[in-house]
Symmetry: C3
Subunit: 268 residues, 3 copies
């Protein structure tokens, strides 16, 4: 059993909420290796957390426990859950933050946290991160069994991520994320780009060529590429596309296939 | 002896000051387990640090060493001290950052750091965090004795936190902290709410009912509750009370007892 | 071999890029002790990273591996390198981020990362931090040999840091860094201040005396001192010089020697 526990929250660190969670974990499992994944998720954005966590978990050793506390519904009747997926354990609220794991066809298991030996007595109704999720993660990292957490959940909450629409002429997608550098992530994944591209349009911007890397265009020029997470990305070499275009999450992006080459490439 | 050392500073991380402190600790005690509590304390705000540290330390294993470097007076004649309180050790400047530990009636001990075997020779006059507090913490985490640090301090510096005024009609308190979510912490603690409440007033806002959690009111409505740190809190469900009301630290809050019930509840 | 790996990036943490790097490291070396130095380097600022890393590395135990990923040229033909200097190992792009180690006359060795057993197959062209630098660091922290990384680099990239000009009358330097507190670091180091000072001029500000610490002047007064990193610093006691003067990186600073004492001090 790996003793690694990653923490992903929208708490920032200034208030000491994260520090409280770390103390709870170390008090239960002094050998836990706590890794700060991020505490800078946009407040209340379960979608952003879903995207970030599904992007990093696979790089960790199997049996790592990933705690995700982006929890605007804390204190409501939303469930506390643990998910197993691809050999990892995920602990957090049942608000859709684990949606990507339910959607790709791989096996996953979800249980509701009900066994009181896994969490603090009388958890505070506004801070399940400290009183439920942190203790559950600490016990799992010590080897406590997933099967004993509580009953199986058959209907975990699923967030409606925007879908890519495919037509004869191309794909219609949307910007789903803006990263620290102002790079715009589009929900179109590399494996969807099955034909030669005529152009990629976003607002008044039109890009003709998909590049390998930012450096393939001059400094401060726009560039489209498949990013390190496998998504189509629209960026500016050494600057922020978000600032340049004033465009963020939800913006429409069209990929247009090259019309004269459609036949050549439909039959590989 | 626990080897856990928590770090709380107002340094941010960008300048490498915190990285320097971590290196000093690991050079003295390679087995120390360094936990970033927070480096985002408001610059020079000893009060904020006092509130945050007193809120999280109790969740850690006993004998944890907590380093607190919010130190606007570095280089003056303010003392460097170590405090023991409830089985934990605290290292930092004697500027009132440990005030909460002196005020609750529990046993505490304070010593001034004067023993030169606990810190670097010729500590730089602007960075005691690196040259005094980090080494002291590292040696304490290895088992060096509190008693050998230096002489007992009988008169540690106390910060004037605002006090709650109790009248026949209710309590007068103040906002003492605004957290990352814009929730307003009031210095009125749950144990002070000994009678049924008529209303809670802050500026033009009047709230009738104390709730258990944010979810007990509709989205974007104001709510008053006892927060996870035991303080009265005025918040907005899923939004920022600080942004909504434009009110922050120092704002006056009144709790009014229900007048017709005073007698019933004065004699339990 | 120390198992400590420090991370310095301009990634922030919100996107999960740093979390991905940490997972890669722990998957290769589960015993690695990952230390977040900072992820808040100004995006694309190799100079800032150079200054910060050269400031903190020496406080760590020998054989610590320091990963520095500020990499605006990722995906171009800039090399990936490992540098050894004063018993430490440094991993990052060859964009000048290690310039200070090449300039001080001490021994250093540079090798290009070409041995494919040290990194991921098919590294993504936009994220060498995850696919090359993190694995290289993890293998080095486990004891893999520097000599096997790849060929010796004789011509590492050097960044043009501003130089101090010395005249009969004094020194001409520049502000090279603004820290979290708004303190202005000047590229004039303590060892350059070999004569009595008449005054220190920056724009319309003139300071007569070099002090030991901020506390040597009244609150909110300007002060000049040698900071904890050995640089001349212009600051405001308990406030931000950057905000006060509206002056930042690149601003000119003059140190004027006391004229009547020149002769006395030219011959020690």
């Amino acid at each position: 059993m790996s003793q690694v526990i990653t923490l992903t929250t929208d708490f920032g660190t200034k208030d000491g909420y994260v520090a409280q969670m770390k103390g709870v974990i170390l008090s239960i499992n002094p050998d836990a290796r706590i890794i700060d994944a991020t505490h800078d998720i946009e407040p209340f954005s379960s979608k952003e957390a879903a995207l970030v966590v599904s992007g990093f978990f696979g790089y960790y050793p199997e049996k790592t426990v990933h705690v995700v506390v982006v929890d605007p519904g804390v204190g409501s009747d939303r469930r506390c859950i643990v998910v197993t997926y691809k050999g990892h354990l995920f602990v957090g609220p049942d608000n859709g933050v684990f949606t990507p794991f339910y959607m790709d066809g791989s096996t996953f298991h979800v249980r509701e946290v009900t066994n009181p030996s896994y969490f603090k007595p009388l958890p505070h109704p506004t801070f399940h991160g400290r009183d439920i999720f942190a203790p559950v993660a600490a016990y799992l990292s010590k080897g406590s069994r997933f099967q004993d957490i509580g009953p199986i959940v058959d209907d975990p909450t699923i967030l409606p991520f925007p879908e890519v629409v495919s037509t004869d002429y191309g794909l219609k997608g949307k910007v789903i994320y803006v990263d620290r550098f102002g790079n715009l992530w589009v929900n179109i994944r590399s494996e969807m780009l099955t034909k030669p591209i005529e152009k990629i349009d976003m607002g008044s911007l039109s890009i003709k060529t998909l590049r390998k890397t930012y450096q393939n265009v001059p400094d401060y020029d726009p560039v489209a590429l498949i990013n390190s997470s496998g998504f189509l990305e629209i960026a500016i070499n050494k600057a922020s596309a978000f600032n340049r275009f004033g465009i963020g999450e939800g913006a429409k992006v069209k990929v247009i296939w090259r019309s004269d080459n459609v036949e050549d490439h439909e039959m590989p």
